[in-house]
Subunit: 491 residues, 2 copies
């Protein structure tokens, strides 16, 4: 290892120490922070961000980076780390301090405005703020540069190396097939309605079930925990400190369970990264689309499967006696019913991606100056009617429902659908191995996890997402396997 | 405010931001940290300490300090802050980097050795480590300098401006009187034994009672919380983020309650400091002896008083029905019984300080080369026999019981007794005011808290501890009021 590379890696380990420290403060803010402590916590976090920015953009950093590049990499891992560090540095440097500050301030105002707008279901409150954020997004994409269209530059924030045109192509094939499949699935669910859960599901019993399942699948509680928050998430506070959160509904134990299965999928990925490379690109997840593939794999492919419940339903019946007169088939029908909904986060597996493609389309038209901010509600509702056959009763249940735009997160949404497609594609590739499929049928998911560790987790960001998909599954991301999976399960 | 002073204060606010960030990591380590995450957490904490050390000892810091000193202070607060900053700087600078590193390493080894030694009750395992720590303590005291004896320099770590000779004098008068009083109190408790608590005290009900009491006394839960840890403590994560911890015994609800009352006393002090001066000396507690006076005030003077229980015992009976056939007098006798014990942390109010004076005496003889480390067990047991009339059955229940020495904390112990004396002295001074005494008798403790805020909390470290005691109570710390209090309650 060259001295310059070594010194550059040390700088990054320092940055990662600060970054993971900030993650602890964030986690604590979500789970524990007393009300009046918010302001000082914001000061602490802003100080840490400032240090990270300073350490990762100063002259000394650039000198070390250039020296390491001049000598070059000795192996694949070094090459990947140098590639990602250069990429991050260039992107940071292209934004002026003024732009970053304006961006942060605009986001903060937009978030407050969005909360009020959603509450009052009045898009006009949010519109001027979103216009300002859109202008900033355009300015950033110009500074960062792009190949085909401005959206490329934003997409790269969340999905390294992705091109809008590729997503347009994949989504273009996926959407009509999915829309048709969703119609059939919803109709099927309507014809023979599923039984509803009844009675009280004590939180303490839900916690027992969630913990037993997470442990049996392989989440390491010596390197992680599960806590309670309003909005579930997974965060990494250190190489052996991966924390999931969930929320409990005492009328429906599956809400917290599927929440845990989802976040645990993220957590297993984080626990499967190389601890020795913690925080270096080679020890960091490849992209949001890959990350989401892991959460959906455990939530949907495992957690909603007959094999899983053949094993776990008797345990659920022990903990929740009101399930004793349910058959396994009834229960599977209940957790796998298809239904059109206005709200993305309430959507089932089969209708979910329709919500995403609607958003992707609107974002792209905004960036390409084909749609004005003021016209979003009309465009949303029109498209929604086409896809779902119903009209959102209000903007709160339409274009104002998600926080992403209020945080300037243009380019984020498509990674959810990439996650769905990747999950099915990787699941298919893994279960081509007979012993994995056989174990899966017996509710033994260890071989499946081992396959993911070997083909996805351990590589970190050494390969770009599409290289990784190609290596692991033999194909770039496409919709075939996911459509196949949905067809099998829902129609 | 001079520009130099302003710039110095800014530097300290930055240091305090890092310091309070480290406190969050520490708190999280005690309450939440997964087992395997310990090593990385230690790296994060060590990085933050390094930054604090660097920022508070570099050339730029010294230049700013000198510039601010040259211009001088414009008021009492500035004068105090400059005094304390200079004092801290000088003490830091007098220790070489090598010495600090040796100290930290020796402590870390000593702590492991102490754990093993206590487990096996074998002092010889701990002795060589403690000898090394003692040599380091001597070296530090030489470097720091002192007036009369080496112990002065160590004491100053915990009790600013205290002199060993003053403590020797106060303890010298206190000890024989206390020893006699303890004998009488223990005899009295033996003659008419108190009733024992019986039955099961559910943790959830204990939490309700603790919370109601802490709220009613004035602990602000919008600026703090109570959590569960093995070893109770109070820590400050920000000006409005004061966190207490306690532990629960399902056979004795008073254990968690008095734990909460004690830590809440610390917490009320922290909540009473000037938030605008957070982390500056003027916004920081004056000393451990003053801090402990606040915790003991609420635990002992309030929490074990008849006035308090006249109000709260009925509520305790509601929550714990097995208390319904108890009289208030029986209960008061139970929580205020005197009993000799081998273990300091199990000691009652009346015998507690005997444990401390024994330790102080041994520490001082070690520093003055009048006692060898190898002779500690014999010296301990001899002195213990004199004070308590019984012989520790093992070193685990004798000289190996406390962690303080294993952490290099020579000079810490006397602050516990200063706390006891200060608590009684301040309680006496406050209740000289008729309206405070009257409210107290009616279990209204707000006027007492207000008095403490005004006379103690709000001053931070503007005055040295003994100046503060003189101002607040009219006298320097002495044993008269505490002896009076114990006599009244126990004989």
């Amino acid at each position: 290892m060259s001295e310059a590379y070594h010194s550059l890696a040390s700088k990054h380990r320092e940055i990662v120490l600060i970054h993971s420290t900030a993650a602890i403060l964030d986690w604590d803010q979500e789970t524990n922070l007393p009300r009046k402590a918010l302001n000082y916590r914001a000061e602490q976090l802003s100080y840490l961000s400032g240090r990270i920015h300073q350490l990762s953009t100063n002259e000394e950093y650039l000198d070390t980076l250039e020296a390491a590049e001049d000598i070059g990499a000795v192996d694949t891992t070094q090459r990947a780390n140098l590639r990602e560090w250069r990429h991050q540095f260039n992107r940071s440097k292209k934004l002026s301090k003024g732009l970053v500050e304006r961006d942060s301030k605009t986001c903060s105002l937009a978030k407050s405005a969005w909360i009020e707008a959603r509450k009052k279901s009045d898009f006009s409150i949010f519109a001027p703020h979103f216009s300002a954020l859109l202008e900033l997004a355009k300015e950033k994409s110009q500074r960062w540069g792009y190949e085909d269209e401005a959206y490329d530059a934003l997409l790269d924030n969340y999905e390294r190396g992705a091109h809008t045109k590729d997503i347009v192509q994949v989504f273009g094939e996926y959407e009509p097939a999915l829309a048709e499949l969703a119609r059939a699935a919803v109709e099927k669910s309507n014809i023979s309605p599923a039984r509803d859960l009844e009675g009280h599901f004590p939180i303490s019993a839900q916690k027992v079930l969630n913990q037993e399942i997470a442990e049996s699948i392989g989440f390491d509680f010596d390197s992680g925990r599960i806590d309670t928050t309003t909005h579930p998430f997974c965060t990494t506070l250190g190489p052996h400190d991966i924390r999931l959160t969930t929320r409990y509904d005492e009328a429906d134990f599956t809400a917290s369970l599927f929440g845990v299965m989802h976040e645990m999928g993220h957590g297993l990925y984080e626990q499967g990264l190389r601890a020795s490379d913690f925080g270096l690109p080679s020890g960091t997840a490849a992209s949001l689309g890959i990350h989401e593939s892991q959460s959906l794999l455990w939530e949907a492919h495992v957690g909603r499967s007959p094999s899983f419940w053949k094993h776990w339903f008797p345990r659920a019946q022990e903990l929740f006696p009101q399930l004793l007169d349910w058959s396994l088939e009834e229960f599977l029908q209940t957790i796998n019913r298809a239904k059109y909904s206005f709200i993305r986060v309430d959507a089932d597996e089969v209708t979910y991606d329709l919500h995403i493609m609607l958003r992707f389309d609107i974002e792209r038209r905004l960036l390409n100056n084909e749609l004005k901010v003021a016209d979003i509600p009309a465009a949303w509702n029109e498209r929604f009617e086409q896809l779902f056959g119903m009209n959102p009763p209000s903007d709160a249940q339409g274009c104002l429902q998600d926080i992403h735009w209020a945080m300037g997160g243009l380019g984020y949404f498509p990674t959810y659908t990439l996650g769905n497609l990747n999950a099915s594609q990787l699941f298919h590739a893994a279960t081509q191995k007979e012993e994995i499929q056989k174990a899966f049928n017996e509710a033994n998911f260890t071989p499946l996890l081992d396959w993911m560790k070997l083909h996805i987790h351990t590589h970190g960001s050494v390969y770009l997402p599409q290289e990784l998909m190609l290596q692991a599954s033999g194909e770039k991301t496409n919709a075939n396997y996911h459509l196949e999976h949905l067809k099998l399960r829902y129609t």
